[in-house]
């Protein structure tokens, strides 16, 4: 196998952060290279340098042995480098063919050439097993299919190196297997793949070699067949990782939150929650699994008073709260860790201090008769900064200046600072590194031991299995079933994530 790409001492710094520190790596023809590292290790920065979206401060990119400057993504594509971003770059209202045609010169001058593209797309999808209807409109497609469109888009441009940034985050276990099959076929045709990930099992399952990054540096590059998940985890974190959370036995208390037959509509006006009923007890963690976009976000919003309920009722400690506003729910001891940090959880222009007290600001001791009490605020914030080990130059620093992990700590401090009785934790570890994830797990278990009722919404199956006492799965806005964690397994949950109800599965058992 010849060398296709070589990065030589790539260095990139942002104000205050050295994101990539003299990184060197190489990719051979037809090889699947995993780029493994915690969040913030510099994986995405490095790939953006390669894809022309960032300019490295120093270092050299060699493409097939020749030194190259890649000023933008257009240049990268014309070299033969394609990238599938974590957030897809597709136009939702256009069809698959139209999305592929964007930015391409038509063979018919000013006229579009969609038939020709469609024929070629069909050939490509057959060749690589990327099943997709070229005429389908993007927003109607499930996420897995949208990802296939992204890959097709790259293949159509005859790329020789495909970069995938955390491609499995949005997929069901079954879809992950399909994706891996496609990647193997690509590599058999001589297309190289760089897979950015922080999941060890994926690295072991699919890659030929793996380059481990930590704190912006290459720790080591090893052949996958010569290593173990344990060793990789050690390389990635730089210390032993305890993957198991010590969870004391369940001490289930009274019902804290009860949901009865609720219906709610999503952003597009379609029914996003259909007849959902469940109850959540004190001292229990109820995990909601499911592929992103099956109603979890709407459920989160409904429970926190951010989305209107069309039908059904919600009870908090026996009190009906179906149409309560967020601040009323906070008064009753409900706390919320929003799924999208930058969207709902923090105002990055404001300070750490202001963000931390925002949901308590109108109550004593933080304010009296509408006048803030800086002393009480400062006290709470100082305490939280040390409890949650938040790395910030000062409580008055803008949240925008903090790293993602520290921003999430601010969110946790704000949500957990006042001993909530019910906690809605949506994707609480999204974008966090292994070490920090571990801390969040321990913290959630602590809250559970204290007697808090926790509703955990997460797309990470491992997280759900490690923390939950019971696991619920949502599919297209409907509840597929709730199973106690000790009586279920990944297969059963995976089936529910694909739309097979729990009771149907039990029926089919011999």
């Amino acid at each position: 196998m010849g060398e296709m790409l070589r990065l030589d001492n790539i260095t990139k710094s942002f104000p205050g952060v050295l994101a990539n520190d003299r990184i060197s790596l190489d990719v051979r023809e037809g090889e699947i290279l995993a780029l493994l590292g915690e969040n913030g290790a510099g994986k995405t920065t490095l790939m953006n340098c390669l894809y022309g979206q960032l300019k490295p401060d120093a270092g050299q990119i060699y493409w097939r042995g020749r030194p190259m400057e890649i000023p933008d993504s257009h240049a990268a594509v014309s070299l033969g480098i394609g990238m599938v971003h974590q957030h897809f770059m597709l136009v939702p209202v256009l069809s698959v063919v139209e999305n592929v045609s964007l930015g391409l010169a038509s063979t018919r001058g000013l006229l579009l050439d969609l038939e020709y593209i469609e024929t070629r797309l069909n050939t490509l999808s057959r060749e690589f097993g990327l099943e997709v209807n070229p005429r389908a409109v993007i927003w109607r497609l499930p996420v897995g299919a949208q990802q296939r469109v992204e890959i097709l888009k790259a293949l159509y441009r005859e790329i020789q190196l495909l970069i995938l940034d955390e491609p499995t985050a949005v997929l069901t276990p079954g879809e992950v297997n399909d994706l891996f099959a496609v990647l193997r076929r690509l590599s058999a045709r001589g297309v190289s793949v760089i897979l950015i990930t922080h999941k060890l099992e994926e690295v072991m399952a699919i890659s030929d070699r793996v380059t481990v990054l930590r704190d912006g540096r290459v720790v080591e590059t090893v052949k996958t067949s010569d290593t173990t998940p344990h060793e990789l985890a050690h390389l990635m974190v730089g210390r032993e990782v305890i993957f198991d959370v010590h969870k004391p036995p369940l001490k289930q208390g009274k019902i804290a939150l009860e949901v009865q037959n609720i219906k709610a509509v999503g952003e597009r006006g379609a029914l996003a929650l259909n007849n959902i009923s469940f109850s959540l007890h004190e001292g229990e963690i109820l995990g909601f699994a499911g592929v992103d976009g099956n109603g979890q976000q709407e459920l989160e919003e409904v429970l926190c008073g951010l989305r209107r309920i069309r039908e059904g009722q919600v009870f908090l400690h026996g009190q009906e709260v179906s149409h309560y506003k967020p601040d009323q729910l906070h008064q009753l001891g409900l706390a919320h860790i929003p799924s999208d940090r930058l969207d709902r959880a923090v105002a990055v222009k404001l300070t750490v201090e202001e963000n931390m007290v925002a949901s308590h600001i109108s109550k004593p001791p933080y304010s009296r008769r509408g006048i803030l009490n800086p002393k009480a605020i400062r006290q709470f914030v100082q305490h939280s900064i040390s409890t949650f080990n938040i790395q910030t130059p000062s409580p008055r620093a803008a949240v925008a200046t903090l790293s993602g992990g520290n921003q999430q700590r601010v969110v946790l401090a704000s949500a957990l600072g006042h001993q909530p009785r019910v906690l809605i934790a949506a994707q609480p570890t999204r974008g966090l590194d292994v070490g920090l994830t571990q801390q969040v797990y321990e913290r959630l278990v602590q809250e559970r031991s204290r007697g808090a009722a926790i509703l955990l919404i997460s797309t990470e199956l491992q997280e759900i299995f490690r923390l939950s006492d019971r696991i619920a799965v949502m599919y297209r806005g409907e509840l597929m079933g709730i199973a106690p964690v000790e009586k279920t397994n990944v297969n059963q949950i995976g089936m529910m994530m694909a739309g097979v109800r729990l009771e149907q599965q039990e029926d089919s058992l011999p």
């Binding site: 070299l79 729910l329 709902r344 105002a347 222009k349 600001i361 800086p374």
Partner: protein
């Protein structure tokens, strides 16, 4: 006895440097913008065959050259300053209240009405009554766009812009109709009663206590925005509306509050100008001051203390431009060119770095295109 001398923390060299640096970061964009605008306008004057140095000297002298000039500057600054605060409070909630122009007029009409039609009150009741009337007027005129924005999400810029025209037309009807001074050739309202007028403190400067009210308002605004719950909510809503909602802040109510406070401040600005300086309204009452106040607030970086400086700066430009016209015959409209340039440069200062990066990328692209040419 041994005394140890300890330098207070804020006076230590390191902290002084820090303070100076952050102050420079804050002040440099508007200062550079002002300098750039004056230079460009100077070139314009050269083209028009005027000597820019003489012009700026005349501008300077007639703005702050003597007591009466300073008085004029202050009197023109006050409405700009107070209205600038109005713009600031709305803007902190991410509301662009262009409607201050109209809210000034409606506030003024209310104040004139109370000042002329209500009589027989002692000054210590009549004056506050006029001020309250003016604030109510401004607030009432802000209510419609505020409600539409908060409850229906309708763009406030368009609504207030249209309402400004309505306010101007309303004023021209009022000075001809209901509030017209009887037996006068020109359309203007009657003067407000003596009991409704602010006392003149320094006669040769025509200075009235409005300046103290304005200065107190600057401090109050600062206190309101950074030390009270509604102020906190306003800034949080302005910084991230969806996060504010999740934190339990009532977003529509907060928007309504900031918009109404903004309107009442604009109304007060109009009122103080009437009961302190003009005593009546003409059709051209404070025309354009609302728009200038937006400029003053932007140059003041939407911070109450910055707006204080911005207000006085634009007031000085307004009063200095007359002097420039009288002594050198330079059209005072040129001042509007300076003002517009300052705003453009302030806005541009946020984007200059971006433009620079873009330019560098383009150059890299050229290099790249040469690189991948076949046959290289």
């Amino acid at each position: 006895m041994k005394t140890t001398f300890k330098i207070p923390a804020f006076l230590r060299l390191k902290n002084l440097q820090k303070t100076a640096l952050s102050l420079w970061k804050r002040l440099s964009p508007p200062l550079i913008a002002v300098a750039a605008a004056l230079i460009v306008c100077g070139v314009l004057m050269l083209v028009m065959n005027f000597n820019p140095l003489l012009a700026y000297q005349a501008l300077f002298e007639s703005a702050i050259g003597n007591k009466s000039a300073i008085g004029t500057t202050i009197i023109k600054s006050l409405p700009l300053l107070i209205t600038g605060l109005a713009v600031t409070i709305a803007y902190r909630a991410e509301i662009f209240n262009i409607g201050v122009e109209g809210q000034i007029l409606i506030g003024g009409i209310f104040a004139v009405w109370v000042g002329t039609k209500v009589t027989g009150l002692p000054p210590f009741i009549h004056i506050p009554l006029c001020m309250i009337a003016g604030m109510v007027g401004g607030m009432a005129y802000a209510w419609l766009p505020a409600w539409l924005k908060a409850k229906r999400g309708i763009n406030e810029v368009i609504v207030t812009l249209l309402l400004n025209y309505m306010a101007a037309l309303l004023l021209s009807w009022v000075v001809r109709g209901p509030l017209r001074e009887p037996g006068q050739l020109y359309a203007k309202t009657a003067e407000v009663a003596q009991t409704a007028r602010l006392p003149i403190l320094v006669p040769e400067m025509r200075l009235h206590p409005g300046i103290f009210i304005a200065l107190i308002l600057v401090v109050l605004c600062y206190f309101f925005l950074w030390r009270t719950v509604p102020g906190f909510n306003i800034r949080f809503v302005g910084a991230n509306q969806r996060a504010a909602e999740a934190a339990g802040i009532n977003v529509p109510k907060t928007m309504l509050t900031s918009f109404l406070i903004s309107g009442s401040l604009a109304g007060l600005a109009g009122t103080l100008h009437i009961i302190g300086t003009e005593y009546r309204m003409l059709e051209s009452f404070l025309s354009g001051f609302g728009y200038d106040a937006i400029a003053a607030a932007l140059v003041g970086q939407l911070h109450p203390f910055g707006v204080l400086l911005g207000g006085f700066f634009f007031g000085a430009l307004r009063s200095g431009s007359n002097g420039m016209q009288i002594s050198l015959g330079i059209p005072s409209t040129l001042i509007y060119v300076i003002q517009a340039l300052i705003i453009l440069f302030v806005l541009a200062s946020y984007h200059i770095r971006f433009g620079w990066r873009w330019w560098k990328r383009e150059k890299q692209m050229d290099v790249f295109k040469k690189e991948i040419q076949p046959g290289n």
